[in-house]
């Protein structure tokens, strides 16, 4: 298929740093297909950055980082003994290996089919938004409705978690699933309103238009919407202080209580993957997307690099919350979600309309 190779080569990611190597590899018969496929823009966006590869990198570092930060605040050491010279970063890999070789127990009362397939299915709503999140020239699908579609796809993740809680057929899992459902309604509406406010402000749902219009970062244009979005992110990824559905001291990881082995490994990372997606969305909406200092040698890799870096730094900062705040009760969180956060999300829409109507924004 010579035509296929040409199509891919024409639409390849151009990185001056590795271009000589790519040129050499493209002359080798079989490897040229692999290299061209990986560097093909849609595949590169989904598989490497900001897609699967970046997610894996984030998972590796953020879990370690969070454990390490919490440990330092609590006067412990945290993961260290695995790969001591680099401060125990490989601990996550070691945990992953352990999960992989541990027996997966499906208990008698569980709905075995759903119980096993749901953690795997959960990757669909995690990976599908990646298709729509562009990083400058590296993107898979460009659409005017990308932002609403991303929000809609991310909103599917709690449905999977609730289904997991149901399939586990355990009282803790059931309580966790119910809590997840309650929280879902509490944060999803303010989250959608905050996104809506930014879409009103920029007048488009296309990430390219949104990033282009952000000569001033969105967080300065509409800080209320940014605050709403950040609180909703914390709620949505069930992090402390809103770690209510999982609450390991109360209901022992809630919907995930019956999972073991690699299935637990999959569901445990779900919250972090969701956090990554929402950080990317936050970066595009509020932090200027892939705008950044130009680094010519990176070429097409530069926009995804900046997008990833901004999202990643946001994740690193949000990890601190675990050691600062205690967990809210469900009723407290619901009260906050339905009253003050909903109120400020509506205010943020008003601010956006005011900004647009007074013509502050070009």
């Amino acid at each position: 298929m010579p035509g296929m190779l040409e199509i891919m080569v024409q639409n390849m990611v151009n990185i001056p740093l590795i271009q000589p190597l790519v040129d050499v590899l493209l002359k080798i018969p079989v490897i040229n297909y692999i290299v061209a496929l990986i560097l093909w823009r849609p595949i590169f966006a989904v598989l490497i950055i900001p897609g699967l590869g970046a997610i894996m990198l984030v998972l590796m570092i953020i879990v370690w980082w969070e454990r390490k930060l919490t440990a330092r605040v609590q006067w412990r050491v945290g993961p260290l003994e695995v790969s001591r010279p680099i401060g125990g970063v490989m601990q996550v890999m070691a945990d992953g290996m352990r999960y992989f070789f541990q027996e997966v127990i499906v208990h008698r009362n569980a709905h075995a089919i759903y119980f096993i397939q749901l953690p795997i299915l959960a990757f669909l709503p995690v990976l599908l938004p990646i298709l729509l999140i562009p990083a400058g020239p590296v993107y898979a699908i460009r659409s005017d409705y990308a932002i609403p579609a991303i929000v809609a796809l991310i909103a599917l993740i709690p449905v999977v978690i609730i289904a997991m809680g149901w399939a586990s057929n355990n009282r803790f899992a059931y309580i966790g699933a119910i809590r997840e459902a309650f929280m879902y309604f509490a944060y999803e509406i303010p989250l959608i309103f905050a996104v809506l406010a930014m879409m009103v402000l920029y007048g488009s749902g296309d990430p390219f238009v949104i990033v282009e219009k952000q000569t001033v970062p969105g967080i300065l244009l509409n800080p209320v919407a940014a605050l709403t979005f950040i609180i909703a992110t914390v709620m949505a990824t069930s992090r402390l202080p809103f770690e209510i559905p999982e609450a390991d001291q109360e209901i022992a990881f809630g919907p995930f209580v019956e999972y073991s082995g690699i299935l637990f490994g999959l569901v445990m990372t779900l919250a972090y993957e969701k956090l990554y997606l929402m950080s990317l969305l936050l970066t595009i909406l509020f932090l200027g997307g892939w705008n950044g200092i130009a680094i010519p040698i990176l070429g097409d890799f530069m926009p995804p690099f900046w997008l990833f870096l901004k999202a990643f730094v946001f994740m690193l900062i949000i990890s601190l919350l675990r050691s600062i705040y205690a967990r809210y009760r469900l009723d407290q969180a619901l009260r906050i979600g339905w009253s003050s956060i909903l109120a400020i999300s509506i205010i943020s829409i008003a601010i956006s309309y005011a900004l647009v109507l007074t013509g502050w924004l070009p």
Binding site: R72, V73, W75, V77, L320, S323, I324
Partner: protein
């Protein structure tokens, strides 16, 4: 029913408290005020009289049995080697170091070695010849850590390796010495000569009676001669 409500705070006050909490956490992340000692890589600075593993010097031992007598756990048994030397059963030892304190010649010495293991119970009975050499220690530490109790507890780290076998001065000899207090009682049995662990007593025959000579330099005032003498000839006098 009494309902407890959260304290009502104004906006500025609650924002201030949030910022304070965030500040504390950020500060702890940057410089954690932990007081944990990372043991194999750091060692706590121990005093020179730390009650650790006991070392033995067979040249100084006078077989006075005081260590065996005083041991509250009955861990010390005197075994016959050249003379009677102590063996310590570390399964029984409670590390009170009464033996070290009671040793009149400093033959038993304290060390700061507190991390030693044995493979089985039989091995825990350490004989005198095994106590002479300092055991081989795998040192992973490069820091010596010290707690400073000045207001808040603080941890002071120094990049130095501590010597685990401190130099201990042998105890001062008691200001007493054995002497023949009642020479007229002597029946020339020479039990004292045989019993003296430091060979300080010698007997010189003179016609029908013997004269006991006591080497004052060698005498440790252990009073074994005093106890063994059937006729209370010997006693202790001031030096």
């Amino acid at each position: 029913m009494k309902k407890i409500k959260a304290e009502k705070l104004g906006l500025t006050e609650s924002v201030k408290r949030h910022l304070e909490a965030i500040g504390v956490v950020v500060g702890e992340v940057i410089v954690p005020s932990t007081i944990t000692i990372h043991y194999p890589r750091e060692r706590r600075k121990l005093p020179d009289n730390f009650r650790g593993l006991i070392l033995f010097d067979s040249k100084a031992c006078i077989s006075c049995f005081r260590c065996a007598h005083i041991c509250p756990a009955n861990a010390i048994v005197m075994e016959h080697r050249i003379a009677y030397f102590p063996s310590i059963d570390y399964a029984k030892c409670i590390f009170c170091h009464f033996c070290v304190d009671s040793c009149p010649t400093g033959a038993l010495r304290p060390t700061k070695i507190h991390d030693f293991v044995y493979k089985d119970m039989d091995e825990m009975v350490v004989h005198s010849e095994e106590m002479v050499e300092t055991p081989e220690i795998v040192r992973e530490d490069s820091f010596t850590v010290e707690y400073v109790f000045d207001g808040d507890v603080q941890l002071v780290k120094k990049k130095e390796k501590e010597e685990l076998v401190p130099e201990v001065k042998p105890p001062e000899r008691p200001p007493k010495v054995a002497a023949a207090l009642n020479p007229e009682n002597c029946i020339s049995c020479r039990l004292c000569v045989a019993a003296c662990p430091t060979f300080a007593i010698s007997a010189k025959e003179e016609k029908t009676k013997i004269i006991l000579e006591i080497n004052v330099d060698r005498c440790t005032a252990c009073s074994i001669c005093n106890k063994i003498c059937p006729t209370s000839t010997l006693g202790l006098v001031d030096r």
